[in-house]
């Protein structure tokens, strides 16, 4: 479903991604672990082309992100096409980024209507259903700042789901939350996993990774150090670096 090949990315002098290869099969959950500054967010942001990579390719469902191949050249896509591609990828931010001046329902309805040109009358009942599903159905007419952090993040998840994305990307969805609120957001993500959504989750919640990940990827210094099922990577890491990190986080 997601195919990342030889991705390099640098910010000026700083090489953040140094050749990353990653494959995510449809219906699986991939958890990305790694120390701060290792390039996890950058990788995730590259997948939906919020960040333009310097080298390498990213495909989602066979479709090249950000480029079109013509003959032996890659042509940069126009902004409008990139936006269309992005609307097939749900992205959940660490700090929610809900639109503060719009109600919860308007937040969820906005993109399906304006980006996917679906009918408002058709999207609204769907949006309410999604809000119910993530447990904030009664807050549809509230403004984001009237909600708790956990509720805001669950709205953000509903907002991403409303686009009926092929894949969902989560960048530390719980690290801006109080410990008590972490559980309610993780429960929503677990439920999505059970329903067979394709997801990539950056998180520091090892227990959560063990429970839902099909694949755990450990990334350090812009390279994937180790990847495999949680039993291997979390419980019997091969690399010294992985072992040190996991023992610290646990």
């Amino acid at each position: 479903m997601i195919d990342v090949r030889g991705v390099h990315k640098s910010f000026g002098e700083l090489d953040v991604l140094k050749g990353v290869d990653l494959e995510v099969r449809a219906g699986t959950v991939t958890v990305i672990l790694g120390p701060s500054g290792s390039g996890k967010s950058t990788l995730l942001r590259s997948i939906n082309h919020l960040e333009k990579v310097d080298r390498g390719l990213i495909r989602i469902d066979g479709e090249l992100m950000g480029y079109r191949r013509r003959g032996n050249k890659l042509h940069e896509l126009r902004e409008r096409e990139i936006l269309r591609q992005r609307s097939q990828v749900g992205f959940v931010f660490q700090n929610f980024n809900l639109f503060g001046h719009l109600t919860v329902l308007q937040n969820v309805v906005e993109a399906p209507v304006s980006a996917q040109r679906r009918k408002r009358g058709e999207v609204e009942p769907l949006a309410r259903e999604l809000l119910d599903r993530v447990g904030v159905g009664d807050k549809a007419d509230a403004y984001p700042r009237q909600l708790s952090g956990g509720q805001q993040q669950r709205v953000a998840i509903a907002r991403a789901l409303a686009l009926r994305p092929k894949v969902l990307l989560f960048d530390e969805p719980t690290s801006a939350l109080d410990p008590e609120l972490v559980g309610e957001v993780l429960d929503v993500i677990k439920e999505l996993a059970r329903d067979g959504a394709t997801m990539v989750v950056v998180t520091h919640e090892i227990g959560f990774a063990r429970e839902i990940a099909d694949t755990v990827v450990f990334i350090d210094g812009g390279r994937i150090v180790e990847s495999g099922p949680p039993r291997e990577v979390l419980d019997n890491p091969v690399h010294e670096r992985t072992r040190a990190f996991i023992s610290k986080v646990l």
């Binding site: 902004e79 269309r84 503060g100 719009l102 109600t103 304006s114 980006a115 996917q116 403004y143 700042r145």
Partner: protein, 315 residues
């Protein structure tokens, strides 16, 4: 102030009254603010002295004031002032929005043009610019449309193109646009980058990102500064009296030039400036409130709501 009782209804089996009541059952007495009342008293005394002065000092010459304040001449002068303000604001902010967008665009060419415009019109004193437009016929007798350095298709005489009022509006609007551009740009860059990122991640089209997501939030900081500009433009229109345009300030000057009652006629202008500025300020309050939705958990009541609430509580 108000005394609220938190005591619940008495229980059937209440102990005899000699028992010490539980903390939770005690009545609550609101906090007192003695210094606020002291402040109110001082201000009221000062205000009374001022009003007394206005009423008793014959120098204010209220009969003359009343004689002129609602005359036809003053009204038509006021109308010119309002027109100058409205045209200056609308044209100024429209052009300002375009320039702000240019400065924020990714094109270095547009950025430089916008920067140059702002630089030029903030550097030239408004009065110089106005006099320049007023006297443009002296520099360029004709304007023509055509191929640069080549044949000309249409020609205008600069004198007919804009009369004095047109020149004034043009000058005010061009000047205003430079300031408006910076205010609008300031509002836009104050919106959290995450909002744009979220909109981009959702695939919302570019224009829609701007008008639906960024601008409404930018309005929060554009409005107070923008209202400042409108109000200062409203009074600043008095500067076009140098072009002999019959706006409010010019007109009262003409009148006191004839009857030499300077103070009451200046009061006529002042009162009208105050009345319209008040209306603008009230409008500003409600427009700002509209754009404030979602910024606080609950918006504070409007002064009017507060008055009604106090009134109802008092009855």
């Amino acid at each position: 102030m108000s005394t609220t009782s938190l005591t619940s209804a008495p229980h059937a089996a209440d102990p005899p009254q000699t028992a010490v009541p539980d903390d939770a059952d005690l009545p609550v007495v609101g906090r007192r603010h003695p210094w606020r009342w002291a402040g109110v008293a001082v201000v009221l005394v000062l205000l009374a002295m001022f009003v007394h002065g206005l009423a008793t000092n014959p120098g204010w010459d209220w009969p003359t004031f009343l004689q002129f304040v609602t005359t036809r001449t003053i009204f038509s002068a006021l109308w010119v002032t309002i027109q100058l303000t409205v045209y200056g604001t609308v044209l100024g902010f429209t052009l300002g929005a375009v320039i702000a967008t240019m400065r924020l665009s990714t094109s270095p060419f547009l950025q430089v043009v916008a920067w140059g415009y702002i630089w030029a019109f903030r550097s030239i004193p408004l009065i110089v610019q106005l006099l320049f437009w007023f006297n443009i016929a002296y520099l360029y007798q004709e304007l023509s449309l055509g191929i640069p350095f080549g044949p000309e298709f249409v020609q205008f005489s600069t004198n007919n193109l804009f009369g004095a009022l047109g020149a004034a509006v043009l000058g005010l609007a061009l000047h205003q646009a430079a300031y408006a551009a910076e205010i609008i740009r300031g509002g836009i860059i104050s919106v959290d980058q995450g909002q744009l990122e979220a909109a981009a991640a959702l695939g919302i089209p570019r224009l829609r990102q701007f008008f639906r997501i960024v601008l409404p939030q930018a309005m929060r900081s554009i409005l107070p500064n923008g209202a400042n500009e409108v109000i200062s433009l409203f009074k600043g229109t008095s500067i076009v009296s140098v072009m002999a345009i019959p706006e409010l300030f010019y007109q009262v000057q003409v009148i006191y030039g004839r009857n030499s009652r300077v103070v009451p006629l200046l009061m006529v202008a002042t009162v009208w400036y105050i009345v319209l500025t008040t209306l603008l300020s009230v409008a500003q309050f409600y427009v700002e409130r509209h754009f404030a939705r979602g910024t606080a958990r609950e918006l504070p009541p409007t002064p009017w709501q507060r008055v009604r609430r106090t009134w109802r509580a008092a009855r």
